[in-house]
Amino acid sequence: MQLLGTRCSVKTAVGTCALAVSLLVTAGQLAAAPTQAPSSDPDPMGKLAREEMVLDAGASSTLLAQAGETGNALGFPVGVKRIGKHVRDGFEQTEYDEVTELDSKGRVSSITQFDKSGRLRSAIRLDSPPRNVLKVNSAGAIRAAQRSAQTAGLTLGTPSATDVDQATGGWTVHWDRVAGGIRVRGDETRVQVWPDGRIQSVARVEHDLAPEPGQRIDADNAKHAASDNLDRWFAGRNSGYAIQGVALEWVEPNGAFDPMLAAATSVPYRLAWVTEVKPLGDAASAMWLMTLFVDAGDGNIIGGDFVE
């Protein structure tokens, strides 16, 4: 009866507590009757799982040592025990090795992940950042991020951006991934810096790239391909659009416009003209911005994104 105490404390007008709960539950049923979500959701998004398989000490000795070196280089707290795991991450549709560092209370103090080729994927400390400390400035955060990334084995130049992190009060320093002079959308190296200049995390996001198309359409043709779709979509509606920009990027094909492709298995990124579109009219009331990924080879729409 845990519910009774809480709910009764805010409902004193009705006689007995049990009766009050009865009234409230009944009232809720009368006020609205939304659909109860099905317990066996056929949507693959409802079945995602993260499987963690603990590795035996022998198999994971190198992994544990590698994680220890990384944690030390980043200044992470040293725990009393490390556990090596292999993770099948259905949420990210990938697999990696992970080492968790446990503190004296048995809680995970940090996580270090390595991809299938043994390269650092991420190193994250999970304790809370200090509050009310003298905050390092942007330049200091960049220096700390560069130093930590280098000690973790990552070679980086000038960061693409440095932003204040409202969640920690510190900084996020990141470097866009560029392949053959072309930006890879979403791929990055990211270092989160606590307000006092210590490192919260280093992460490298790098997806496989498909071969470049044999022939590449130009930006004008990509714009035409996007406009053809937009004109068809918005025809007869009180909506319009304005194309704000077109840029060549490597993108993840996705099911943004096609339910059959949503939550599909991860596929290599493809070269596309990313067309940024500002909806106008009725469409703008809820959709703030959208992109269409126009395949740089054949001009087909292979995905997109929305700011709702």
């Binding site: 009705v14 009865s22 009234l23 409230l24 609205a32 996580i111 979403g186 099911g255 009725d282 809820a286």
Partner: protein, 260 residues
């Protein structure tokens, strides 16, 4: 007043179903709401598939944390009246829609954050679809909430009034079993979905209730792979208890893995 009148109307029914209702009270209600009609063919000429993905993900993950029944709606069932009529009974609440920090009725600089209800089949959103934090504050009537997730733009910013609608102060040191998650600025759907997948993947990836929601947040925020909207970097934010494992509990009860 509406709640009071509804309660009075319910007295006869309540009295006759007392036993069943007390049994139902052992449940820890959660509602997952996702606006899909504003992002469907009527307004856009195509169907944006993200609202369904966010919805399905959250329904399954709330269930894994122990909230039950997990109700709500994807699409037309997500109305202001359904939301406000049910929110009092919830322990966990999730909204995926357009959200912003609008000026309050009293005018600038006062803020009254809001999200948009689903406009209904065949309709597009208008400003009349706003579900304002002030209305939610009234409907929640001081009730405590375990988990509130606003999967919208802006409602995780420091100026958001939405946490207060659920009695969640904008602090990261609460000792009560409360956790609010939102996004600080404009957010691509792919980024919010990636973040929420990582958040739930870590949170529910180990043995049940062995991880803290704040740790899952740190994990999700740290893995990267988030796309900026123009010059606005992706940012999520949270407030509440840093050591809360998500167990649907009466907030005054001690939870086994919480270290108070």
């Amino acid at each position: 007043m509406k709640r009071a009148s509804t309660l009075l109307v319910s007295i006869v029914i309540a009295a006759s179903t007392l036993g069943a209702s007390v049994q139902a009270a052992a449940a820890y209600n959660a509602h997952v709401w996702s606006n899909s009609d504003a992002f469907a063919a009527t307004c856009l000429g195509f169907t944006d598939t993200y609202p369904k993905q966010h919805y399905s993900l959250t329904v399954s993950q709330f269930s894994k944390l122990g909230y039950s029944p997990v109700s709500g709606a994807l699409g037309a069932g997500f109305t202001r009246s359904a939301f406000l009529g049910n929110v009092f009974y919830d322990y966990a609440v999730y909204v995926h829609s357009h959200g912003d920090n609008y000026w309050a009725a009293s005018g600038a600089p006062n803020v009254d954050s809001a999200f948009l209800q689903d406009p209904g089949t065949g309709k597009c959103n208008t400003s009349k679809d706003m579900v304002r934090s002030s209305a939610i504050k009234t409907a929640t009537a001081g009730t405590i909430y375990n988990i509130v997730i606003m999967s919208t733009c802006m409602l995780g910013s420091s100026s958001s009034t939405m946490p207060n609608a659920f009695q969640i102060a904008k602090t990261k040191t609460s000792a009560e079993f409360k956790f609010y998650l939102g996004y600080v600025k404009h957010t691509w759907d792919s980024s919010s979905l990636r973040f929420e997948k990582a958040f739930w993947g870590y949170m529910n990836g180990g043995a049940p209730h062995t991880r803290w929601l704040s740790e899952a947040f740190t994990y999700a925020a740290s893995i990267g792979g988030y796309e900026a909207v123009g010059t606005e970097a992706f940012q999520a934010n949270w407030w509440g208890n840093p050591q809360y494992d998500g167990t649907p509990l009466q907030p005054t009860l001690r939870c086994p893995t919480c270290n108070f």
